[in-house]
C-alpha cells in the first residue's frame, strides 16, 4: 500500500465515520473530535511506513487517535495545574444532538465513566474489537482491559438503575443489534 494508492485513500475515508464517533464519545466535544480525527489522518499519512502491511488498518488508526487524545489531555492538565494549582474536573458526555429521549439517560450515564473505562467499552462494546485488539490499541494488558470493561458496565448499570428482568424492548428482541447489522 502506497500513498498514491487510491485504495488507501478510500480506506482512510471509510474509517472516518467510526473515528469521529469514537472521538466524539471520548471527548464529548464535536469540534475537538473533528480536530482529533484530522490530526489522526495527517499522522497516519505521514507515518504510513510504520503501518505493517496486512495488519488491521482500523485498529492502527484508533491507536493513533487515542494516543493523540491522551497526550493532548495530559498536556492540558499540566497547563491547568500550572495555571490554577489544581486539577480541573473535566465533564465529558456524549453529544446530545439528534438523540431519542431514551438515549439521553444513557449518554448522561456514560459521562460518569473514567476515560480508561470509556475507551475500552467503546472499543469492545461499540466497535467490536476483541479484548486482545483493544489491549494492543490501548497499550494495556488483556486482563486490565477485561477488568476495565467490567467496571465500566457495573458503573453504567448503577447510573442507569437497570434491573434484571426489565427489558428495554417490550418484544424482547435485540432491536439495537439488529438495526446495527442492518444499517451496516
Amino acid at each position: 500500500m502506497t500513498k498514491s494508492d487510491d485504495d488507501l485513500q478510500a480506506l482512510l475515508i471509510a474509517a472516518v465515520p467510526n473515528l469521529r464517533a469514537f472521538a466524539n464519545s471520548l471527548c464529548g466535544d464535536p469540534t475537538r473530535a473533528d480536530d482529533l480525527v484530522q490530526d489522526t489522518l495527517v499522522k497516519a499519512w505521514s507515518n504510513l511506513d510504520g503501518f505493517e502491511k496486512g495488519s488491521n488498518l482500523k485498529a492502527w488508526l484508533f491507536t493513533i487517535l487515542r494516543n493523540t487524545y491522551f497526550s493532548e489531555l495530559r498536556k492540558r492538565r499540566r497547563e491547568v495545574e500550572d495555571a490554577d494549582g489544581a486539577m480541573a474536573e473535566r465533564m465529558s458526555v456524549l453529544p446530545e444532538q439528534h438523540v431519542h429521549m431514551d438515549l439521553v439517560d444513557f449518554k448522561k450515564a456514560f459521562g460518569v465513566l473514567s476515560d480508561d473505562q470509556k475507551e475500552v467499552l467503546l472499543l469492545v462494546g461499540a466497535e467490536g474489537f476483541s479484548y486482545e485488539e483493544a489491549a494492543e490499541i490501548t497499550n494495556a494488558a488483556v486482563g486490565t482491559v477485561k477488568s476495565r470493561v467490567n467496571r465500566a458496565r457495573v458503573a453504567l448499570n448503577k447510573a442507569l438503575g437497570l434491573e434484571a428482568g426489565e427489558s428495554i424492548n417490550p418484544n424482547g428482541e435485540f432491536a439495537g443489534i439488529t438495526r446495527a447489522v442492518g444499517r451496516g
Partner: protein
C-alpha cells in the same frame, strides 16, 4: 476483581451503547476530511515530481 454483571444486564447496556454509537456513526461526514486527504495526496505527488526535476 468486581463480579461481572449478569448477562442480561450486560446485553441491555451493550444494546444502548451500540444505539448511541450508531447514531454518531451515521452522522454525515464533513467535506473537510475528503479535501484533506486529496491535499495530502497532491502534496505527495508534487514533491515526487519536484524530486525528479532536480535529477
Amino acid at each position: 476483581m468486581q463480579a461481572p454483571l449478569p448477562a442480561e444486564l450486560q446485553g441491555q447496556i451493550g444494546q444502548r451503547l451500540r444505539e448511541a454509537y450508531i447514531e454518531l456513526i451515521n452522522e454525515p461526514v464533513p467535506d473537510r476530511f475528503v479535501v484533506l486527504l486529496q491535499k495530502l495526496k497532491q502534496r505527495e505527488e508534487q514533491s515526487k515530481e519536484d524530486g525528479r526535476d532536480e535529477k
